[in-house]
């Protein structure tokens, strides 16, 4: 069981900054995120896009903002459970919470801060009959272990970077790789597109465009798929062991929606007059995932909410301790790793 002071669900900018504010109060944090990397939407959807409304940064790329936040919170040694989705929450007798992920990882903390943004990113699934029947029986939306596909006949659908990159990678692993896309054009890094072209010319990737998979066939395991040319409507049957649709990810509020929290407009209602606490004491919601009158889904608002949440969390954990907020310029930043940052001391020295 992973134990911490504040368990943060969602490792986007708001969740990451909460680690810093908690650290100033000497509270330890652990973050859970369904994505395999920190940064949330900033890393997943628009890492190369500029943001112009982060105070103090006239312009910063979303990816750079995440990198900066990671650097800023490093002294506070946050723990991460990445690539796992927070699934259930349970309140123990001692008033602390246990949050369990879809992989069964358990986390225990007196405070839970949901910084889940738009929800956890789930693979976008094509609309096909028997889709669920073949899931894990030849159909997968995420490639966890490429070795599974060694010497198999694999069909990938999609036209983005992940479809291109995996087609390239699996060309050396699988016995047969077919790439199906609705357009003749692919959207991806130039060298990926060129590499696929090269592998196609070498006969290592079988490219079918413009086309889409319209039917799945097989008993228990997937045996073949029907690919339809979107221009001529002509159907071709392709024998496959594996079908991997890679249509990107879309966010879903997911299991958090069933935790007994008050939900409004696909977001969690919080008390914005005080501390962004939800209807369940000890559970807070900060950043894009929450809602209150006048709510704005802005990163800068998430930072503010994270800061007030930490103050309230501190009071909750230490109800008897007296505390006043200290400026970092005055108090410096003392990391859990022993590092200390502080303003240089002025010297008193006469000038001759």
């Amino acid at each position: 069981m992973i134990k911490t002071d504040i368990l943060i669900i969602g490792a986007g900018p708001t969740g990451l900054f909460a680690v810093f504010e908690a650290g100033l109060l000497k509270l330890k944090c652990h973050l859970i995120d369904a994505l395999p990397q920190a940064g949330g939407q900033c890393s997943e959807i628009y890492p190369k896009k500029p943001i112009y409304d982060i105070p103090g940064f006239p312009e910063i790329l979303a990816g750079d903002l995440v990198a900066n936040l990671m650097e800023q919170i490093k002294p506070f040694q946050p723990g991460f459970t990445l690539g796992e989705r927070a699934e259930t929450i349970e309140k123990l007798e001692d008033e602390t919470f246990v949050v369990t992920t879809n992989n069964g990882t358990k986390h225990n903390a007196p405070i839970v801060a949901i910084a889940g943004g738009l929800g956890s990113f789930e693979p976008r699934k094509p609309k096909l009959d028997n889709l669920e029947k073949f899931e894990d029986n030849g159909l997968a939306y995420i490639i966890k272990d490429p070795e599974v596909y060694r010497n198999k006949k694999v069909l990938i659908a999609g036209g983005g970077d992940s479809a291109l990159d995996w087609a390239i990678f699996l060309a050396d692993v699988a016995s047969e790789v077919t790439l199906v896309h609705r357009r003749n054009e692919f959207r991806g890094a130039l060298d990926s597109v060129e590499k696929v072209q090269e592998l196609k010319n070498l006969g290592k990737i079988n490219l079918i465009t413009p086309a889409e998979v319209v039917e799945l066939k097989g008993d228990v395991n997937l045996k073949s798929v029907v690919v339809q040319n979107t221009a001529t409507k002509e159907n071709t049957r392709v024998e496959v062991d594996n079908f991997i649709p890679l249509f990107g990810l879309s966010p879903k509020l997911g299991p958090i929606g069933d935790w007994g929290l008050e939900i409004e407009k696909n977001a969690i209602k919080v008390d914005n007059t005080l501390d962004y606490q939800t209807n369940i004491p000890g559970i807070y919601a900060i950043g894009d995932v929450n809602t209150y009158p006048g709510k704005l889904k802005l990163i800068l608002c998430g930072f503010h909410e994270a800061t007030l949440m930490c103050q309230s969390a501190y009071q909750r954990i230490f109800p008897d301790k007296k505390y006043v907020m200290k400026y970092t310029t005055v108090g410096g930043v003392t990391g859990f790793d022993g590092s200390k940052k502080e303003a240089p001391k002025a010297v008193v020295k006469s000038i001759d």
Binding site: P126, K127, G159, G160, H181, R182, R183, R187, G248, N266
Partner: protein
């Protein structure tokens, strides 16, 4: 006032005639959100960067629309329920020329 009239059919099939401002730098997705014609969190998820297809709509009238950017074109190539008249609402800015525009919101992806 610089409003134009737009007819929007929501995902439940209900038709709404609404006034859309042309002087507020708004796009069709934002107009839909401002009138709450689709629940928050189900439209405009990426915020208007043509990086999700949650604001996909079908253009029902004959208006001449701004040309599709590469980003929009590529996104629609990956979206579901795409028809020949599909566009991303976030890429359609409200201009006086669009007075009388008729659109239907594409179903939500589930």
């Amino acid at each position: 006032m610089n409003d134009i009239k737009i007819r929007i059919t929501d995902r439940e099939g209900v038709s709404h005639e609404i006034d859309a401002p042309t002087d507020m730098n708004m796009n069709l997705m934002e107009v839909v959100r401002s009138y709450e014609l689709a629940p928050e969190g189900t439209i405009g998820i990426c915020g208007g960067m043509a990086m999700c297809a949650s604001c996909q709509c079908y253009i029902k009238s004959e208006h001449e629309l701004p040309e599709m950017s590469d980003d929009e074109d590529a996104m629609l190539a990956e979206a579901f329920n795409v028809e020949d008249n599909s566009r991303l609402g976030c890429q359609i800015h409200m201009t006086p020329e669009l007075d009388g525009l008729e659109v239907e919101l594409a179903p939500e992806e589930v």
